[in-house]
Symmetry: C2
Subunit: 208 residues, 2 copies
DNA sequence: CGAATAACATACAGTCTGCATGTATATTGA
DNA sequence: TCAATATACATGCAGACTGTATGTTATTCG
């Protein structure tokens, strides 16, 4: 008969420790900033020592990257849950936009993903993470809209990046207390402005 | 008759020391990142000691803020020099956009102003700096365009912030090696899409 | 059941930041 | 003009943090 706490497989130990480290780091990185959070504090919250941290992660940045990756995935899942492929291209785009703005209201997410992430990991690394998760649905939505002729044909990568940047800034502004309606209205105007035919009447659907 | 090196007024000494500290910090902050640049290195490059730094600036962040402020002003001046008020609203907007993208190619500027700045000082502080310098001309250009009926009437603050965010991301992407033409084309499409009347066909060809 | 290896814990070296204290130079006012 | 005072620095110190090297315990495997 094995004791309850002993006899844990190595893989289980690794997985559990990594998960606890990431969870503790996530909590602290969202409450405070990356720079203000020290590894002693993280390992104390996780119930391990710094030795464990540096055994599982190359350095503090690597742990931060793991947290960012997880959080970006969580945001992407919220978006995909809100914009099923059954919707029309433009409607899916709008639903996804709103879902993104809602998802980014989770405390500390904007700083983690939009401020500390790019500064600590660099824009290139953040682009890679975004392309694996969040931006994918956005880019696919844009491609679909272009194919359905409801959007001008433009360089997809650039369009994705610039719209994503606008969404990011909107999330930051809303968190800072700006009017959600104002930013939402401008975002929609930017998207609708990309229609190949003049926007004309926004309410009655014109492209069909 | 005063000696050459002695007999310097206190105000001159302060001004000179501050300027040297800011210049040395600017050089290092643009070559490396804020986090990778230590105050011992900065004061060594400036030819003073850390005592002088902490006499003139509250902390490392305050020195960084001074560098950011100076650099943001330099960018704004380049833009205003390139987009005189004699131009038509839309043309001034385009000229300013191109000037911004050019100005941001100065080595290290994107990281300083677009990555480290927001992360270290916060988005609110960066917004304040931007509104004092760069964004002012953009917002005024947008207001002028709206007044001349060549742009839909939208919340000005939000529109300014979101377009600025798109410009920022374009500058980052271009520095990372992306196609300037692609990003420029999308930026112009976003701007032109905001026309209240159908795309207006300002030129027989689209934008190029 | 050893031997090798993985998963930690502990200890240490180097560096950094911010402050406190000391000193020289400039300014002020009687 | 000359002390008194304030300003502009320089120096030294305390605390904290990061990364690594080394030691110890728990698995895995032949």
């Amino acid at each position: 008969m094995q004791e309850e706490s002993t006899r844990r497989s190595n893989r289980d130990r690794t997985e559990a420790t990594r998960a606890e480290l990431i969870a503790a780091a996530r909590k602290l990185f969202t409450e405070k900033s990356y720079a203000e959070t020290g590894t002693p504090e993280i390992v104390a919250a996780a119930g391990v020592t710094r030795g464990a941290l540096y055994h599982h992660f190359a350095d503090k940045q690597a742990l931060f990257a793991a947290v960012v990756e997880q959080e970006a995935q969580a945001v992407a899942e919220e978006i995909e849950r809100a914009s099923p492929p059954s919707l029309l291209a433009r409607d899916a785009l709008i639903a996804g936009s709103d879902a993104y703005l809602v998802a980014m209201r989770a405390p500390g997410r904007t700083r983690l993903l939009l401020l500390d992430g790019p500064a600590v990991l660099g824009r290139a690394a953040m682009d890679a993470i975004d392309n694996r998760h969040g931006n994918r649905s956005l880019r696919e939505g844009l491609v679909a809209a272009m194919r359905s002729q409801s959007m001008a044909r433009l360089p997809v990568e650039a369009l994705t990046a610039l719209l994503a940047a606008a969404f990011d800034r909107a999330a930051l502004a809303i968190e800072a207390g700006a009017s959600t309606e104002d930013y939402r209205a401008v975002l929609m105007a930017l998207i609708d402005g990309l229609s190949p035919t003049p926007p004309q009447a926004p309410r009655p659907a014109r492209t069909r």
